[in-house]
Subunit: 388 residues, 2 copies
């Protein structure tokens, strides 16, 4: 029997200054709010952290002092072993590599780090969005077919957090429980216990479709951003959830969520609605979707983006709404509301997200993706491909 | 040869106090900004005006004093013969009846006035939006088959105007030239000269598809309203065109306009783009759609609506975007952007505009609607129907 969450959490706290932890190195790719939160969390547990930043913007003091100033759930100043742009240096000897970057650049990161990967390293995408782990696994099969690399994804980012200029992070909330899965799923057996010892909030699930298709960012962000496009484009400041969402806009989110759930049902799986997810992640008790958005405390201070060229569009559409629409088309489930948002975003952003995005045509899904039951650990073979 | 616009306009001004005009009565249905502008315009020319109001809101002083206070292009105080809610009283003896109501209620008005119509009366829908005159003509064939009623529509409202509380109107602009057509088109021959003597800005065209399919409100209003839904729903005040439109949103308008023009081209007709229309109506000289919106002076002071339950949605979608989408489907022309807006509006407004709106299934189009040339006056017969 598994220990319950609280016991696990305490166990983890007791390990905070475990000397053994010093022997374990994490490479964190991405030094935005999420990457910094992971760095703080792991440094607090005594692990060695190599932080890779991709943009020189807002990193000066962290780079200079190798310290992250953290507020919120894990307050304090936390030492970082290495702050670098070099994948080679950061990955060398690391047990695990955490991607904390927009899902839309995961494939480009994979291509860049491939030459420096070492046998047995673990990659976790935080989060994978839809099909992140499958995409990464397929790319690695091509770039470094001879290495055994474990690739997993979480269903959402562990933290609700905001960057503090070039020196720190504000960890508004560590989510209670988030799903995690490796791909192919049999790899959970090999690396699942390692990862949940470090992150007791990670709930290992035995089906990659659970982490991939319960992509909540995609359900919320594009709708709210697009329905507020006018104000964003005229540089109005407003609180994204508190002011950007109205009962009418919540209806749209609920519609998108139901289109997503229909797809999951068509696969014969039990969908997790946004409401159920908010209950699990945020302990929400509200009945209506609108009330849920008002209830989630850590959402209250989140400001709207100041441009449409923002992850809420450029990440959530190509790695969220587009794959859902593509899968819906394949399963003959119509997704009119999801499609409507993609169509508007294409024109507003002068992009073709249908083409840039992940689709069943450009992501090689496993041949048994349509199976109606959760993954059974019947085989340790490499997955066969649905479309070649 | 027709006299040019200026000559016609002067001719009309000379008639302002023509004693004969007193013999001609207009019933104006709708006492909003458009209805008041027509009342002022006609009263200024010496015609008798019976004004029908449908809502008691903001009409008190006009009702009490039978005077409309007008600012802008036709300044002054103008006497109205009758201000009433009674269709019976207003229509009695009127030569012409002007509908100045949202197109979405035109059919209900037609049903209500049918018992009081008199042989030979002229109805003009200002504007018809898409298929207004055809819908009205078909309803009258059913409600009063024995009367000869002439039904026409304009392509846009003659005035750019705003209501002044319960006492007046501000006529920001009288458009230079707007298309007008009766249905079936052969009726232009009978009543065209009467109507252009009164409204020299009306340019009689010999094809009802020109006035119906060049529905510019539908191209602009829903897109701008929906992309600003967030701010409208949180009661932010902003100028609809000056602040609600950005280059990105203009791209969307241009896309919708091009979908509409493809439909018109598929009928073998020459479409009028929004840009060409703005050149004709507003003498715009700008090259880009975005600049056009900034250039139109009378747009500058127009404020955004304070709710989504507004004509920009509840009129322009069912009597603009829905018929365009429906016709596109029939002609095998895809209208993804138009459809996207309808889908979003359905959910936001909890309505089914596909069903409420005008479609080729519920409007009986003439059997020759797909003809590729303009109407030829070959027959005076009643039009045969495309779908029964």
């Amino acid at each position: 029997m598994q220990p319950n969450q609280n016991e696990k959490h305490n166990e983890n706290h007791n390990e905070n200054h475990n000397e053994n932890n010093k022997q374990i190195t994490f490479a964190i790719i991405g030094a935005g709010s999420g990457g910094r939160s992971f760095a703080v969390y792991l440094s607090n547990c005594g692990y060695k952290v190599n932080l890779v930043y991709r943009s020189k913007k807002n990193i000066t003091r962290i780079r200079k002092h190798k310290i992250i100033d953290s507020q919120g759930e894990i307050p304090g100043e936390f030492k970082i072993n290495m702050v670098t742009t070099s994948y080679r240096r950061a990955l060398k000897g690391a047990q695990a590599i955490l991607y904390v970057v927009p899902a839309s650049v995961q494939s480009s990161i994979t291509k860049q780090i491939a030459p420096f990967l070492e046998d047995g390293q673990i990659i976790v995408l935080n989060p994978g969005r839809t099909w992140g782990a499958i995409e990464t696994y397929n790319l690695l099969s091509k770039y470094c077919p001879d290495l055994e690399i474990y690739v997993g994804e979480t269903q959402t980012l562990l933290f609700t957090c905001r960057k503090q200029e070039d020196y720190g992070v504000n960890i508004l909330r560590i989510k209670e429980s988030i799903d995690c899965c490796f791909y192919p799923e049999n790899q959970n057996l090999i690396v699942g216990s390692f990862i949940t010892r470090i992150f007791p909030q990670f709930n290992m699930v035995n089906d990659i479709r659970i982490t991939s298709l319960n992509n909540m960012g995609a359900i919320i962000h594009p709708a709210v951003t697009l329905l507020n496009a006018g104000s964003i484009l005229r540089n109005e400041e407003f609180f994204f959830y508190q002011e950007g969402i109205s009962p009418e806009i919540t209806r749209l989110i609920e519609k998108i969520d139901s289109e997503r759930c229909h797809i999951i049902e068509a696969l014969g799986l039990e969908p997790i609605t946004f409401k159920e997810w908010a209950q699990t992640c945020y302990k929400c008790r509200s009945e209506s979707y609108y009330q849920i958005f008002l209830e989630i405390k850590s959402y209250q201070s989140i400001r709207a983006p100041q441009s449409l060229d923002v992850r809420y569009i450029t990440e959530d559409i190509p790695t969220g709404l587009v794959p859902l629409s593509s899968l819906g088309r394949y399963l003959n489930i119509s997704t009119p509301t999801i499609n409507a948002l993609i169509i508007l975003a294409n024109t507003l952003m002068k992009k073709n997200f249908w083409k840039i995005g992940r689709t069943i045509e450009n992501i090689k899904l496993p041949f048994n993706y349509r199976r109606s039951q959760n993954f059974q650990y019947m085989t340790m073979d490499r997955p066969k491909i649905l479309f070649e």
